[in-house]
């Protein structure tokens, strides 16, 4: 049996990688992709806990499903924004949209 910690460590690495991507990337689409990585990490956590610790109720599974659904919605919406940004600024770099600065 694979210990629970393995899944959690995997999830942690995946999340940290996604976070790095979100913080370091300039392209809005790449940031979106990094967010997907983070969401996947969270889903792994949910499902691992559901399978290992909550065999009777498995609420984690339900939440993982919701995470996937919300992620889909989020990507749809975010891509709309990215397209909008691209149309306004002719670029998909997020630091082009900085008119809310001082």
């Amino acid at each position: 049996m694979i210990p629970l910690e393995n899944f959690l460590i995997l999830s942690g690495i995946l999340f940290a990688t996604g976070l790095y991507g979100v913080l370091a990337r300039r392209s809005a689409i790449l940031i979106l992709m990094s967010v997907e990585l983070m969401l996947a990490a969270v889903s792994i956590n949910f499902i691992a806990f559901a399978a290992y610790l909550d065999g009777e109720a498995f609420s984690g599974l339900v939440f993982a499903l919701f995470v996937i659904t919300v992620a889909a919605a989020e990507v749809g919406l975010a891509l709309g924004i990215v397209l909008r940004l691209f149309r306004e600024r002719r670029t998909s770099y997020v630091d082009a949209a900085d008119s809310l600065k001082w």
Binding site: V22, L23, A24, R25, R26, V94, D95, A97, D98, K101
Partner: protein, 635 residues
């Protein structure tokens, strides 16, 4: 008797109606005010009869149904802090009720003539009704907080009426002065009430008296509390050093002076001390303070009255002086003497004020230096005014004689001899300045022909109250006899027994003593005639003997100047320090400094707002990392 709360309710209803609808009522509703007041007088008559039936021997014992609970006014914590709206009727109340209601009725009737054609005619009657309502509530109050409410109510009405001619600068300032000066005393009263409540947990006057008699208070504590209470009484009753507002209060319409500043409101302080006298009996130091304050005020005011040139101010000083007499009586524990003097004084002093109002109405002049010889043109006014003066001076038969004699008698019996000497001298001074006033106003030659030509006798609506009051000023003193008093319902109060030092004894006239007092009064009158008869030449000569003394009196012992100096140097000096602190430290350093600091920081820190999402996300991630570290550390 249980329904005694109706008495203040009627004038209050009148006030509300006149205040709201005065403009659209016929004659601005003055008749409504008069009718309401007449109803109150009739009801007071019923209360008197009722009281006579319920009377039991003991003067202080509350009669049946006397302490009447009406409703819970404030109830916090289910009885922890409970104020009932309650009424209390005993002999002291029974002296106050007829005085207040009757004089108020006389003044209202008189005002119809006096205030004719004035602006704000309806408002005048509304404010007078408000005053009467508050005054009646004050005298029937069963607890101190309710009394305090009424106390402030009469203060408010007084303020409104002194400042009735607010277009005149001096009137507005006099109103302000009266309000602020009495407020100093009122704060003392409130502190006193709170001090008493702290120990007893009750505002009920009778409960407090019982607690004091059973020794629930520490002696020093009770002394301080009662001195604070007396500060309130001194403020309202214009006792030294808070007397300065009353002479200035003469800026109000004359009937107002008669009602508020002679007969009723100013005796509220006397009433309060009389009401709490059993407590004062427990702490003799506080009672002595009452005595000597009254003595000093009586003497000072009488001397100031000697030189005042305004007819109303002479009367105002006389009022202050007579209030001093009442406090002297209370100071030796002579409750009945004080209440009796209050009773007679109300009639003859309101008579004098209304008479002076009649003069002012006729001549539009109130400086005695410009009056004179009016007896030919205003016979009724002259006669009634003379009766009032004789009563004030203390000539036998007239009301003032009996009560003043009673006070002197009790002082001689229970007080120090020198105090008696001073008060007797003051009684002589009273006769002098009263004579002076009468002679200068009604006798001699007219000094201002224009004013004299203008003069005429007042209409009946003004002279009838004068005559009624003059009749009372003549006979009111006779109530001191048991049979007379009983016939008019003053059983046990003024009528039957005289209470001094808590020991009731039946009144008897001490003939030699009274003869001495009468001689003093007559001597005063003789001196008055000597100096002011005819063209008052001797009086002018006398002024030359001691000009410093004259100006000292004329400037009212420089008390006003002293206060002004205090305000100029102490208050304004302190204020300027506070103002400097406020301007420099609070405003420029605190407020402006704060805003400048925020502005500066904002100017610098705004560059943190790069507008770039990754920067914000980095900050957020750092925050999450910090929180995670904390969570990891605590788990």
């Amino acid at each position: 008797m249980e329904e005694v709360w109706i008495l203040p309710a009627i004038p209050f209803a009148v006030f509300v109606v006149l205040g709201l609808f005065g403009r659209i009522l016929p004659r601005n509703g003055d008749l409504l005010a008069v009718l309401g007041m007449a109803a109150v007088v009739v009801l007071v008559g019923f209360v008197l009869v009722d009281f006579q039936d319920a009377f039991v021997d003991d003067f202080f014992a509350p009669v049946a149904g006397a302490n009447t609970y009406a409703f819970d006014w404030i109830n916090i914590g289910d009885g922890f802090f409970l104020i009932e709206f309650s009424t209390y009727v005993d002999a002291i109340t029974m002296v106050m009720l007829p005085v207040v209601s009757f004089v108020a009725l006389m003044v209202l009737v008189y005002s119809i003539g006096y205030m004719k054609g004035e602006q704000r005619y309806g408002w005048y009657f509304a404010a007078l009704s408000l005053f009467v309502s508050a005054m009646l509530l004050l005298v029937v109050s069963g607890n101190l907080l309710q009394l305090y409410l009424a106390w402030e109510g009469v203060g408010l009405a007084s303020y409104l009426l002194i400042g009735f001619y607010w277009e005149r600068q001096s009137a507005a300032e006099a109103a302000k002065k009266a309000f602020i000066t009495t407020r100093i005393g009122d704060v003392g009263l409130l502190i006193g009430i709170i001090l008493l409540w702290r120990v007893t947990g009750s505002f009920d006057i009778q409960e407090i008296i019982h607690a004091a008699e059973e020794g629930a208070f520490g002696e020093t504590y009770l002394t301080i509390a009662m001195l604070f209470l007396f500060a309130g009484a001194a403020g309202k009753s214009a006792q030294f050093p808070l007397h300065v507002w009353l002479p200035d209060a003469m800026e109000g319409p004359t009937p107002v002076s008669a009602l508020i500043h002679a007969a009723t409101m100013v005796v509220a302080g006397v009433y309060l001390v009389a009401r709490m006298l059993p407590v004062y009996d427990e702490v003799l130091i506080a009672r002595d303070v009452v005595l000597y304050t009254g003595l000093l005020t009586a003497f000072m005011a009488a001397t100031m009255g000697l030189v005042a040139t305004d007819i109303k101010r002479v009367l105002a000083f006389s009022t202050v002086s007579q209030l001093g007499f009442m406090f002297v009586a209370l100071g030796v524990g002579a409750l009945t003497a004080a209440m009796f003097h209050l009773f007679t004084h109300a009639f003859f002093k309101s008579l004098l004020f209304l008479g002076s109002g009649s003069v002012i109405h006729a001549t539009e002049e109130q400086e005695v230096g410009k009056l004179g010889g009016l007896r030919k043109k205003m016979p009724i006014t002259t006669l009634t005014f003379a009766i009032g003066s004789l009563a004030l001076a203390g000539i036998p038969i007239f009301a003032g004689f009996w009560s003043k004699d009673e006070i002197l008698h009790d002082l001689e019996k229970y007080g120090p001899l020198w105090a008696y000497a001073v008060l007797a001298a003051t009684a002589g001074l009273t006769a002098i300045y009263t004579t002076r006033l009468v002679l200068l106003t009604f006798f001699g030659e007219p000094k201002d022909q224009h004013a004299y030509d203008h003069a005429h006798e007042s209409p009946p609506v003004m002279t009838v109250p004068l005559i009624l009051l003059a009749a009372l000023a003549t006979v009111a003193g006779l109530f001191v006899y048991q049979d007379v008093g009983q016939a008019f319902g003053f059983v046990g109060g003024i009528g039957e027994v005289v209470i001094a030092h808590g020991e009731p004894h039946v009144f008897e006239l001490d003939v030699p003593f009274a003869a001495g007092a009468t001689a003093t009064a007559l001597a005063g009158i003789a001196i008055g005639f000597m100096y002011w008869w005819g063209d008052a030449r001797r009086a002018r000569e006398a002024r030359g003997w001691a000009p410093e003394l004259h100006s000292l009196l004329e400037r009212r012992y420089y008390v006003d100047e002293l206060y002004q100096a205090f305000i100029n140097y102490a208050v304004l000096g302190l204020s300027s320090v506070v103002a400097w602190f406020d301007k420099r430290v609070v405003n420029e350093t605190g407020v402006d400094g704060g805003t400048q600091l925020v502005g500066f920081l904002g100017h610098r820190l705004k560059f943190l707002q790069t507008g770039r999402i990754p920067n914000y996300a980095l900050g957020m991630a750092l925050g999450v990392a910090a929180l995670a570290l904390v969570a990891l550390g605590t788990s």
